[in-house]
Amino acid sequence: MVRTTSGSRRILKWIGNGLLVVLLVWTLLPFYWMIATSLKADREIYGFEATLYPHRPTLAAYGRLFGTTPFMKYVRNSTIIAIGNTVLSLAFGCLGAYALARLRFPGRALIARGLVVTYLVPPALLFIPLFAVMSVLRLIDTHQGLILAYLSFSVPFSTWLLMGYFRSVPLELEEAALVDGCSRLGSLVRVILPMSLPALAVVTFFSFTQSWNEFLYANVFVNSVEVRTITMGLSLFVVEDVFFWGPMMAASFLSTLPPLVMYLIFQRWVVKGLTLGAVKG
């Protein structure tokens, strides 16, 4: 019995290895094309003279990116906004999730379910009323405005995810802390949060990438170069009816790096955090 299982395990492993190669090609090929395009001169980019790999690799597109566009400013703005959004999502999410996971009050179940429904609201249309809200708050064309706008998708998600995770923290630990004279907030900070690091990692990671990647709100709510984000900067490589693919792909490639680094840092926890958080809620 055991032998057949280990035999089939070995077969499965080889099937797995084979599929892994296929999946890697499927996943990475578009990246290859992105990077290859960014390293070509125009002549190799267009038409049938387009080459499958850069015959004469050049950094001209990157030079153009850094030389003629304020790309570093875009990076700065995207970073400020992504970090600001992440910090607030964590804070709001922790507080709300604690209430939903640990406290009894009327309306609790309704709010918990409502969090999911907020996702259904299609952003493609919300930008106009949201623009009005931002105008009233005088937050058009500011970092704060975008941070706030992005809270509309990151806060429900983080609250929901943390709620699921907080529930899995043993009650006894918290009871002990409360008996020792800890306040509710104290027990949240001292007992629950230290045990929820994986979920916090997931929230950090998701809030950061989603803010970093957002496009529609950024385009509508921001005018000046001082606030412009990377995804918006990309759209400026389309002038009337001409695309500048070289620098656009260079910018694309560079802008995927930060979320990737985030994932590398948080990977260990993300998998664990998802197990207990979102996935159960």
Binding site: A99, I111, P129, G164, T256
Partner: protein
């Protein structure tokens, strides 16, 4: 059979053949401490609302208000820049009468169902593979995760560039290696366009599935497999009687989130095909967007974007119900 979860001894995991989750997904909050007098309860209620204030403010002003104003908008004949007139459900009626509506509805369902289905299969495959012991597994996990980190706008632009009929990677590759002699019009061939759009959506969305599925797989206690093996279950049987039941909740949650994200996404179609050729890839978010901004008919655009909403709500209610029930059993 009951297994104590090592990290949380209070939570017992039942793992019968149906292996329903019995964990902490409860509608009722667990009470901390002993039964308490109502004064304490009231205090708890106050605290709860206090803690929820920021979240509720966000939802109220940034989600609920825009959402209800969109509903109100959908009942007007409002154009950009001009005041609207209340027209009741006229927009919805016009929409239902338009044959474009039927086509768009069919496309939207097809697009969402196929994309979600493929992401599911591919994501599960990826997760199972990445769960196998292997050297450098962390590296592979990171690599396969990469698409999730790429902004959707960039994904769509990059793929459009791959599909490009004259300068794209695919045609260049196929012609260079003599697989085809003529250009394949990936995004403009009516038989291929939808498939290409779905391929891009799948490429971009699969890592979310593999991440959550992998998380679920790793949470399954090894003891369960050992026990199943002793009982003489084959690898396949283990997969169907241990793995699948244990992942059920994860499946539901992931599919639910992904269905919402897929069905409401605008950027892929907007950048790849603009709904063409001959409306073959027209879906609601894109139709709503072009109506609201191209035709500048805000009222009609709102109606279009809301018409799919009840379908999704029903789907979600069904899913969450099931989820909660299987948790309560």
């Amino acid at each position: 059979m009951l297994v104590r979860r090592p990290d949380n001894p209070r939570v017992a995991i039942s793992a019968g053949p149906r292996g329903a989750f019995r964990e902490d997904v409860l509608v009722e909050a667990p009470a901390v401490g002993r039964p308490r007098p109502s004064a304490v309860r009231r205090q708890e209620s106050w605290l709860a609302w206090g803690l929820l204030t920021p979240t509720l403010l966000v939802i109220l002003f940034l989600v609920a208000y825009p959402f209800f104003s969109a509903i109100y908008l959908s009942l007007q004949d409002k154009m950009v820049g001009a005041p609207g007139r209340f027209v009741g459900v006229a927009n919805y009626l016009d929409l239902l009468r338009d044959e474009v509506f039927l086509r768009t509805a069919w496309n939207s369902v097809l697009y969402t169902a196929v994309a979600v289905g493929l992401k599911f299969v591919l994501g599960l495959t990826m997760a199972l593979i990445l769960d196998q012991p292997r050297r450098l597994n962390n590296v592979f996990r990171t690599l396969l995760f990469v698409p999730w980190a790429v902004p959707v706008v960039i994904v769509a632009l990059n793929w459009r560039w791959i599909f490009d009929d004259l300068s794209g990677f695919l045609n260049n590759f196929l012609i260079t290696f003599h697989v085809t002699s003529d250009i394949v019009s990936w995004l403009s061939d009516p038989r291929l366009a939808m498939a290409c759009v779905i391929a891009v959506v799948v490429w971009s969305g699969t890592p979310f599935y593999s991440m959550t599925f992998l998380a679920g797989l790793q949470a399954i206690p090894k003891e369960l497999y050992e026990a199943a093996e002793i009982d003489g279950a084959s690898t396949l049987q283990q997969f169907f009687f241990v793995t699948i039941p244990r992942l059920k909740t994860i499946f539901l949650t992931t599919v639910m989130l992904s269905t919402i994200w897929t069905a409401t996404n605008l950027q892929f179609v907007l950048i790849l095909t603009k709904g063409g050729p001959a409306s073959r890839t027209e879906i609601f978010p894109h139709l709503a967007y072009t109506t609201a901004l191209g035709a500048r008919r805000l009222g009609m655009g709102a109606a279009i974007s809301l018409v799919f909403f009840p379908v999704l709500v029903v789907l979600i209610v069904l899913l969450t119900r099931r989820m909660l029930r299987s948790a309560d059993e």
